[in-house]
Symmetry: C2
């Protein structure tokens, strides 16, 4: 089972995330948890979230970049769900060995993520907090997918990005079956 943790504060205004989610949400092996629909008041049900994660072999974090990081509700999910004694610490291994795929969209294009661009850093500079959150829980960090320039990119490119994500999940599922 693939559990997609989807965090878009304004789903109705989403183009890129909506295209990515739309491309995979009908899959029988995908369980989508849309955090802003489930918990509009930030009142996350930690037990329910942990139960969903326990069924996963692949955890996908799907969200637009907000201030070089996750939207606040996904940060709250990290703080509230990935707790000590379950996800980490004292031999807790609930997530250990699961795979983790980060899929995100950015408002800026490639040239924004350069020293002279408006984000001043390569995109990779913003990856360590995400990667290390997964790794601290013992998850395997897969190569992330970042769709750049989500405000400007053409509908056709978004369809391709969605198809690419879907193909990526197919590959993962095939390899996962081979492993176990």
């Amino acid at each position: 089972m693939i559990v997609v943790i989807y965090a878009h504060p304004y789903p109705a205004h989403s183009r890129a995330c909506a295209a990515l989610l739309g491309a995979i949400r009908g899959r029988p092996d995908v369980d989508v948890r849309s955090l802003y629909d489930l918990y509009p008041d930030f009142d996350i049900d930690g037990a329910a979230e942990r139960e969903a994660l326990e069924r996963a072999r692949l955890v996908v974090w799907l969200h637009p970049m907000y201030w070089y990081s996750v939207p606040a509700l996904l940060k709250h999910w990290f703080d509230h769900v990935l707790i000590k004694g379950w996800a980490h610490g004292d031999g807790a291994r609930a997530l250990a060995g699961k795979d983790c795929l980060w899929v995100t969209t950015t408002g800026g294009g490639e040239d924004a993520f350069t020293p002279a661009g408006r984000h001043r850093h390569p995109f990779d500079a913003f990856e360590p907090p995400m990667r290390q959150t997964a790794q601290y829980c013992g998850m395997n960090w897969l190569a992330p997918i970042a769709v750049r320039g989500s405000h400007e990119v053409a509908a056709e490119a978004l369809r391709e990005a969605g198809a690419g994500l879907n193909a990526r999940l197919d590959e993962w599922a095939a390899a996962s079956k081979g492993r176990g």
Copy 2:
């Protein structure tokens, strides 16, 4: 005026952040906004926050590291307060030229922030999202203060860290007076 945005989800359990805050909260030039006290339901008053920021010449973000980043309510503050048309975009310059000082505490000591340590990265690897958030708003990024090993460090060391922060604000105030 120095505006301190303080974000500790469990102030009663804080040692390091409490020591840092305690060392500066009585200063006449410091205005402390304790987000988890002001907004326990995550219902941030964006207008009030922006008004407070407008009075600041130095903005301090003070919080424990949670998952290699800020606690969720401070992330919500970024998303909700630093809005387009005020903090950035279309010539918006409400924060431009202000100074920004990041003060944080970590559960892991120096040896945890090494490739072989449990956080696998030097502490600096987690700085770009914070620094670039400030810089995108046109703020000047001052050298951060990170108090390591907050769970284990001795009371005396915490008093010193508090005194160090206080001295840092004194220096800033003196230099700031010189500039203005």
